[in-house]
Symmetry: C2
Subunit: 664 residues, 2 copies
């Protein structure tokens, strides 16, 4: 409760489980819950972090305000001696894209992963104390997905022992790097290495962009902002930049040289550190993206669920109250699967965290055996969760009817800030094509190589291809083994079918290109197996708290049976299900929605989102929607005056039929 009357109290009383225990289950542990809760409140109670007025600010003001928040946060981090983990949470709860995201999530990790010991010793302390501010300049105007196609050059000059960083074409201009347009003093610039006229692949270089004294760009560097992005405030707090380099010299030791080196003589040397090490960072970044997906989706779902309980429309009997829109089955069939997805993504994200640790340990022990599988699995989960989250946020907005279209609903800003996650860190379709490559390979090797990790289920290929589902009643769908087997069978059959069709092509690459849309569908089916299975694994663990596990089970079935219904075509086409069985699953789904219904508000309360984080009048904890919408309208600066600017000049002459003589 955040004070005052609670208009949702009746809803909260309906809960059939222990909300406090569910909060812990959602957070991962009691300790994690307490930590998040403490930092969330710290942010929520600090007026400097106010963000409700953000969409009303012009770009410059918005940006300045964001710089202020970052500085204030840094002061807090120092004053309160926050740990790195706490600082990260602080940034999360401030909930505003800013240059520090690049500093901590890209610049520092890149140096940690790709720098030599000496480079780490020099740069990491500077960065961690914010004495330099770094960004990550990979993408160019002409190249994003195809990193090997980058055009920026880094030519070694043996005379001066320097690299010359240069943008030879317009399309080689760096384009998109966050934090770069106005703030960062340094950037890791990815460029093609040229030694003695020969290309040696794309590498990262630490390039100073600005004078540390007066912040002006260094000679040879042209830098600017690439312009407004989607949404009002949204991602416009970030200064995504364009950079052109005109023969900029940097010392040789600013090439990141953990894996490959250039010697004083300009020789290219490959160290014995395996290239694969670099993939570790990728797994880390994607793991974070999946965790963020569940956070973003849970915010939208929380808003739409609370508002759906407040909103009443139609069905008043004898002058009594109307029906809460959350009671309509259509509303439930759109909302509850998203609620279940938020939980599903949360748990698969938790598992990915474990996977990252596992991969790291193996890499350190020079065991690369699981890397391709981990790589495909994280690429696929990145794609699956971010696409579903982006679509889900917009669906939540629509679930709020007209009022969802107001920025004060909190959803438009959430959507606009979120959607680039479908594109950055790997375009979602390009990611699924990577999964497809891995799947095709896995399937083609099934005869003689045991699939590992998340593809291990394909070891049972014969059984999965042959025996069909045995469900005869709606009840029988309430069995995790039955559900998982259905997803495994569908995925295996789709992958095998793709493999067979590919085998008919003389040129495998042509076949892959030709069938790529189908391969993407098979990849999605495989990734859904992962999410569904990891949810089941979670349920096999001990989960304390009255009713908590039971509710999570309900959500698991909602998630899985909703997907089954949505992708019914696959399950039927592969012959694993009969139409009757698919229809029974759908019947069960309706029953499950009724089980979610009384718990819906408590299930979104369990996310423990503060009103500050939600920044939504419709999603207020107390449900006091209408008076607050009304109040916010009249507080909008546009209502400062009854007569808006322009009325005298452009409207009154029209009303008076005097437009012909007016100056427009």
């Amino acid at each position: 409760m955040e004070g005052g009357v609670d208009y949702l109290i009746d809803e909260r009383k309906k809960a059939q489980f222990d909300v406090e225990a569910m909060k812990v289950a959602w957070a991962g542990s009691r300790q994690a819950f307490e930590l998040s809760d403490r930092i969330a409140k710290l942010v929520a109670n600090d007026p400097i972090f106010e963000k409700f007025s953000r969409p009303m600010l012009g770009r410059k003001e918005l940006f300045k305000n964001s710089l202020r928040k970052v500085a204030h946060a840094w002061k807090l981090i120092i004053d309160l001696r926050l740990s790195e983990e706490e600082a990260k949470l602080l940034r999360h709860y401030i909930d505003e894209p800013a240059y520090t995201d690049l500093q901590w999530e890209m610049f520092i990790p890149a140096i940690e992963g790709q720098g030599t010991e000496e480079q780490k010793r020099k740069w990491l302390p500077l960065a961690r104390k914010m004495q330099v501010i770094g960004s990550y300049a990979q993408t160019e105007l002409g190249h994003g997905s195809n990193v090997q196609g980058l055009e920026t050059t880094a030519t070694f000059d043996p005379q001066t022992d320097e690299f010359v960083i240069h943008s030879p074409t317009l399309t080689s201009s760096k384009w998109w790097p966050g934090g770069t347009a106005k703030v960062s003093t340094h950037a890791i610039v990815y460029a093609r290495l040229i030694l003695d006229g020969q290309f040696h692949g794309v590498h990262g270089f630490i390039v100073q962009l600005r004078n540390l004294e007066n912040h002006t760009p260094l000679p040879g560097i042209t830098v600017g902002d690439i312009g407004m992005k989607f949404g009002n405030g949204a991602y416009n707090t970030m200064d995504n930049g364009v950079i052109r380099f005109n023969h900029v010299h940097i010392p040789r030791n600013q090439m990141l040289m953990r894996v490959s080196q250039v010697t004083r003589e300009g020789k290219f040397v490959q160290s014995d550190v395996p290239r694969q090490l670099l993939y570790g960072t990728m797994v880390y970044v994607r793991q974070k993206i999946v965790a963020d997906a569940s956070k973003a989706l849970s915010r939208a779902v929380c808003i739409a669920t609370r508002y759906s309980a407040v909103r009443r429309q139609f069905g008043s009997r004898n002058g009594g109250p109307e029906i809460q829109v959350i009671d309509y089955k259509t509303q439930q069939s759109r909302l509850f699967p998203l609620l279940a997805s938020a939980y599903a993504f949360r748990f698969v994200g938790e598992w990915l965290k474990w996977l990252y640790t596992d991969v790291k340990q193996r890499l350190e022990a020079n065991d690369f055996s699981t890397l391709p599988e981990a790589h495909a699995c994280t690429a696929g989960l990145k794609s699956l969760t971010t696409s579903a989250t982006a679509d889900g946020i917009e669906e939540c907005r629509k679930l709020c009817g007209g009022h969802g279209y107001l920025v004060s609903s909190g959803i438009p800003e959430l959507f606009a800030t979120y959607v680039p996650a479908c594109t950055f860190e790997g375009d979602n379709v390009v990611m699924m094509l990577q999964v497809a490559r891995f799947l095709v390979k896995t399937v083609s090797e099934l005869g003689y190589k045991q699939p590992v990790g998340t593809t291990a289920y394909m070891r049972r290929v014969t059984a999965l291809m042959q025996s069909n589902c045995a469900v005869r009643t709606a009840e029988e769908w309430l069995n995790p083994g039955v559900v998982v087997e259905a997803f495994e069978a569908r995925s295996t059959r789709m992958a095998v079918a793709c493999g067979q069709r590919l085998a008919k092509f003389e040129n495998p690459e042509e076949g892959f290109a030709e069938l790529s849309a189908d391969l993407v569908e098979a990849s999605l089916a495989h990734c859904q197996v992962i999410v569904v299975s990891k949810f089941v694994e979670k349920l096999q663990q001990e989960i304390p708290g009255k009713g908590v596990k039971r509710l999570l089970e309900v959500l698991f079935y909602v998630y899985a049976l909703f997907l089954l219904h949505k992708h019914q075509g696959d399950f039927l086409a592969t012959g694993y299900l009969t139409p009757k069985q698919a229809s029974l699953a759908n019947d069960q789904l309706r029953i499950l929605y009724s089980k979610v219904r009384p718990n819906a508000i408590a299930l979104v309360d369990s996310f423990n989102h503060t009103d500050h984080l939600l920044s939504s009048i419709l999603g207020r904890y107390d449900g006091n929607v209408y008076p607050k919408l009304y109040e916010a309208a009249f507080n909008d600066p546009f209502n400062d005056s009854d007569i808006a600017d322009g009325i005298h000049q452009y409207v009154q002459p029209m009303l008076r039929q005097e437009l012909h003589s007016a100056k427009l």
Copy 2:
């Protein structure tokens, strides 16, 4: 061509049809084409209608600029003596939500439809000359979809012969009416009529809101803007308002009295004009929404298609150019169905225009027989086309990779302006539930009543239920009859299955509520029959121009087989198709994509969109994307200075570790 080098010239040369003839086919007739073309160019060449900088403006400036455009447009309309049709096109091409939309699309039509002859004589000339500016105030804070639940009251006072308009509760505040917050002098206010303490339903009243001399709100009226909406510029050029009435008196003759009257004595009289007449307007409005859907979707598709031909990524051989992303099958499988949908919606919209005329004529002849069907059909098509368009625009944005996220791509603004179409004029789910009611009724009466209009195919219920698809090769799918039959069979079977399940409920209303999610799916299937059939009907007409009809046939099959693949589950579950047949349809789809490919640019050129309308660097006619993106970035006002506001204050102290003493 709009001048300069054409970077897409090679693409244009590939076209296998006559683009000029296709432009005519798209526009509907040569005359319609020439008219649109002329007005589009008029707008594009007038600097006052510049809209590219819109997202950079603050709300007040944005609004003022919009008022200026409207005034300038009105001046043009008078000076050039534009017809009503030309004026409507002018507003369309200015492409900026403004109070005139309400004046011409809501206020005037409502008086035309609901006013008495006397009321029309008084108000229409004033409105048509812009001597009064009217808006449409139906929705309240507490009620949108449920119009019968509106709380504003209009109480007749026999003493003064006036109605007293009043907002008895906070939730009765009018909320959303466009044009109202700052501009409109009058509004049609929907309120519950109270005569002598008795309710007599909800009616429309013409209420003056502002003093015509000085534009201030009249006594008893509190009015304001409801705040920022989704997007940067987008719908924020519109002043959606909140109004509260405190016992506002209006003359009795300002109730719209065509259908019901209140006499001088305060008696409620129902005229012999049938209530159904009011539905005519609804058909008109929805017909326009469907037409707008094809326009909006075609804009997004045009941008994404042109950019996909410009953009190259991966696959360079021996240093040659990389592959155009439009050549990737995944890109095609996402983009081409949307291209085909734009055409499909265009043609169904054309047919709806005819339907509107038909309905009007019948209404005038007191023939109400087709009204329920027309009502359901327009509701369903409104829902189908707006949902598909909203999703399609966002997909087009994603198809542009990172650059699609820039406002200068034109897509974010298009999306943000478009999405409310899914909610206003009938929430899309509520609309589909209306279709469902009609379908359920149609199916239940099949034994003794012939279904009419778009449900006429259900007369063949027995055949459609019994005989299954006969397709044996991918080729055989290229038969309009075969395709339409498949959609009809699937829809009939789903509707009949719903009917059978409903029959098992004792209380039909309970059954309807319980099965509503499935009913919505059946309704969508029925609406798809309409779109597919109307496309076929179009193809049966004469369509002049080399290759034009052939290409439209290709697009028809793309649209239909894409839907068939997407909803494969329905086709298989109802037993009409075998998995093999569904898979053959999918094979054919891939072949069709190859047929679209060389014509893709010409097919989007055929929309005849000006660069002004697209307002997109990625979608430029000449394909000159990169230099223009670069130029636009450096023209952004945020790049006025190298050192942004706030750097000295908030960033430099951090870099110098002097934050502790800085004032934040």
